[in-house]
């Protein structure tokens, strides 16, 4: 291979993800065998004519039943219940970032030509979850930092588009405005020119496939962006209810982009902070997530679902935020079953100092709040060692 070939091989190996599951060799072996048996049965039926019709009919019926019992190859992915937290399965929380209140440096608004976008779906219970990633062009530099144009898109997505360029008949629902993930400043992502946007497409859909998804574009030229849609789409299963497109949440890439599922309300977060918090860092926090419901609860992977943590130092009557970050979220869908809680540990976290009064001085109290979208928040307390 030449240089470009080598480079292409490397990029493709990085770009193409690992398969989500293994094929079932037994199902593969069974398929042609059943075809052959069925053909033999039909040949025999033709040869024996009406005399043996009843006997062959029984035999064929038996074979067809067996075929229906073959496991489907494209059913919903049901991951096994994780008995124990594995560092390999869960992404660690990114470094805490101090919240500035959403201040951004003014920059130009993106034209349509300055926006690149991708949209992809993956299966979930009752349909698919989708994420649209937007990135604006770099329009200037300040202090060596590349600044991207501001994304003039909100709200959305607004519609699914068919191959003929027309809107598909999938009604839009504006999602749950109350119990949203805690994205305190979603517009910051748009202003900074890098944003992810979630959506759900649930229920039964029997129409033509969607080829793109539309997002309103707020620009002098008006109009909308249509982004090619990759990935699975809901199947035609009338029992699953009417098809609905539900808009999600805006966030930076990696932040939660989906409203929580209603069943998350049966989850409970508990935990404790290890002793040993100092003025520089918060000691590790051990967390447990369990369900108090009777059925399993599936956690969607990032960035569909995530949690946040934040700490406040109290000293001498003054309070100041000291850190904020995101709890680990699953890279793959995970199931929490009754009696099988998830355990994980947030490693020691360095405090971000934002100025006088914000440091965790010895003897001060620190309140830590950990929240997962849709789950009652957990409040923990510790004292900074002297």
């Amino acid at each position: 291979m030449n240089d470009l070939g080598d480079r292409l091989a490397q990029v493709l190996n990085e770009a193409v993800p690992e398969p989500p599951r293994q094929l079932d060799p037994a199902a593969i072996r069974a398929t042609p065998a059943h075809r052959e048996r069925r053909n033999r049965g039909l040949a025999a039926a033709l040869a024996a004519a009406a005399v043996a019709a009843v006997a062959i009919g029984v035999s064929l019926a038996g074979q067809q039943l067996t075929m229906h019992q073959q496991p489907g190859t494209h059913g919903p992915v049901v991951p096994p219940a994780p008995g124990k937290f594995s560092a390999r399965e869960y992404r660690m929380a990114p470094p805490p970032q101090f919240e500035t209140g959403g201040l951004t440096i003014p920059r130009a608004t993106c034209t349509p030509q300055q926006i690149r976008a991708t949209a992809a779906t993956r299966r979930t219970d009752g349909g698919v979850l989708g994420v649209i990633h937007f990135i604006g062009a770099v329009v200037s530099h300040r202090d060596g930092v590349a600044l991207r144009c501001t994304l003039p898109i909100a709200p959305g997505p607004s519609a699914l588009i068919g191959a003929d360029g027309r809107h598909l008949k999938v009604p839009l629902s504006r999602g749950d405005r109350i119990s949203r993930p805690e994205n305190p400043h979603p517009w910051v992502a748009l202003a900074d020119g890098q944003a992810s946007w979630g959506f759900s497409w649930l229920g039964s859909y029997c129409g033509p496939p969607a080829r793109a998804i539309e997002v309103p574009f707020h620009h002098a030229r008006g109009g909308s962006l249509r982004i090619l849609l990759h990935g699975p789409q809901p199947g035609c299963k009338p029992a699953a209810g009417a098809s609905t497109l539900i808009d999600g949440v805006v966030g930076f890439p990696g932040q939660p982009v989906q409203p929580p599922r209603p069943e998350y309300s049966s989850l409970r977060l508990s935990g404790q902070i290890e002793p040993g918090t100092t003025g520089d860092q918060l000691a590790p926090i051990h967390l447990t997530l369990r369900t108090v419901g009777s059925g399993p609860v599936t956690l969607d992977p990032c960035p569909a679902y995530a949690g946040r943590d934040g700490g406040t130092a109290h000293t001498g009557g003054f309070s100041a935020p000291i850190s904020a970050g995101y709890l680990p979220c699953t890279k793959h869908a995970a199931v929490i079953r009754p009696g099988y809680p998830l355990h994980w540990t947030i490693p020691a976290t360095s405090f971000m100092q934002s100025g006088p009064g914000s440091a965790a001085i010895p003897g001060s109290t620190i309140d830590v709040e950990l929240g997962i979208a849709g789950v009652p928040p957990l409040r923990l307390k510790t004292t900074v060692g002297r």
């Binding site: 493709l12 770009a15 993800p17 593969i28 042609p32 690149r116 990135i135 991207r148 080829r211 982004i227």
Partner: protein, 177 residues
């Protein structure tokens, strides 16, 4: 699914091991060809299903793999002839690169989109050569064409990728020291 208590023959055991060993790489190549996992699984499963009845006549894993590649490539190209699966440009979203080495997702999407924009035979050569890691001769055998034809498809595909500003820019950025 195997019935409880049923015993596998040695041939079935070897086939099962072969499926487990060969399928991850084949699935990734198929994903590059067709663009989503359900379709990729269909393609690879079809290839294995067609290989199993001939299992006993294929003397070793090398020939089985070669046969599998040929069936998979044929199934993909036949599917392309039967049904138009090309993407349509439905919006005003440009394919111009914004160089950002930290955004692996954009890189991934750009490269995959560029490869998927190639004609089916060129795409098959890219998937077999650069992802399944086949030699030119093996690729030619899988596609039932000459090595010269493989070279020609490969050259045209690479030229098309070079000409794609998104991919060209990303490659240029990646090769910078």
């Amino acid at each position: 699914m195997i019935q409880e208590g049923a015993r596998l023959t040695s041939s079935e055991e070897r086939f099962d091991g072969f499926v487990r060993a060969a399928s991850p790489r084949l699935l990734r190549a198929a994903f590059l060809l067709v663009g989503d996992w359900p379709a990729a699984e269909d393609l690879v499963q079809t290839a294995f299903e067609k290989t199993w009845p001939r299992w006993g006549r294929l003397p070793d894993d090398k020939q089985r793999l070669a046969y599998l590649h040929r069936v998979l490539t044929n199934a993909f190209l036949r599917g392309q002839r039967r049904k138009w699966m090309g993407e349509i440009a439905v919006g005003d979203v440009p394919h111009r690169a914004v160089v950002d080495g930290t955004d692996a997702l954009v890189l991934r999407a750009s490269v995959l989109a560029a490869v998927r924009g190639l004609p089916p035979r060129q795409r098959a050569v890219i998937a077999l050569r650069y992802l399944a890691d086949l030699t030119e001769a093996q690729t030619a055998a899988a596609m039932r064409c000459s090595t010269g034809t493989v070279k020609s498809y490969s050259a045209r595909a690479l030229a098309a990728l070079r000409a794609d500003p998104a991919v060209a820019d990303l490659f240029a950025e990646e090769t910078k020291p």
